[in-house]
Symmetry: C2
Subunit: 134 residues, 2 copies
């Protein structure tokens, strides 16, 4: 088997649902116990009306995609930018996508566009990842 | 009690240790099962020699600091940049810090410098957060 060289335009994606158990687990890890994420009664008093998933939990899927799929094993995460555009409600499905948008000539470093879509297709999180290739 | 207005230079921090259980929990959430984080035998074959904490798990502490401490409850996370500078080994203590560096005149939006330090004091993660104030 030969390793396929990375090319601009290559994409990978994964779909996942963060329910109350996953959001509670992330609250413990991040120490972010904002009731907007955890308490339906509190969330009902906000503009969001229902509990929303932590933005950084959504963004964690980029770590999974970059490390497991594209570029895949052995890649080293150098940087990430994130812009949180739309809420994702707890229990909704999301799709995370990464797409190679630049490859450096001088070093084994790739830039990937990173996006999270809601189950309705809205762009919830956008940004770019910079990764050192294996 | 009056709410203290936010000022440039204000800081908040928290210290935490991510052990094997926390790293395994984050692998489940993020779908990032890179053995560099989870398998000491594999990690021993890499330049890092020991398992390292996922960069995005370290960065999750910014969510906790911003949402719980500074600016605190009701703030809305608009964006985050991250640069991963140094590895953090599983089981080591880290300190996360946020510092207000800019306040917009026209809108209730703050920019905070965000940093993670290793237990040895090295800068492991750096970047900036943009937050809408309550």
């Amino acid at each position: 088997m030969s390793v396929q060289p990375l090319a601009v335009g290559q994409k990978a994606s994964l779909t996942k649902c963060f329910g109350p158990a996953e959001v509670a687990a992330f609250a413990d890890l991040s120490e972010d116990f904002n009731p907007l994420h955890l308490d339906p009664a509190f969330a009902a008093t906000t503009v969001f009306e229902r509990p929303i998933v932590h933005g950084m939990l959504l963004a964690s899927l980029f770590s999974g995609l970059l490390g497991q799929q594209l570029p895949g094993k052995g890649s080293i995460y150098l940087g990430q930018s994130l812009s949180f555009k739309q809420p994702v409600f707890v229990g909704d499905e999301v799709t995370a996508e990464v797409e190679v948008i630049a490859l450096r000539d001088d070093k084994p470093i790739a830039t990937l566009a990173t996006r999270i879509f809601t189950q309705g297709g809205a762009l919830a999180v956008t940004g770019e990842a910079v990764v050192k290739l294996p």
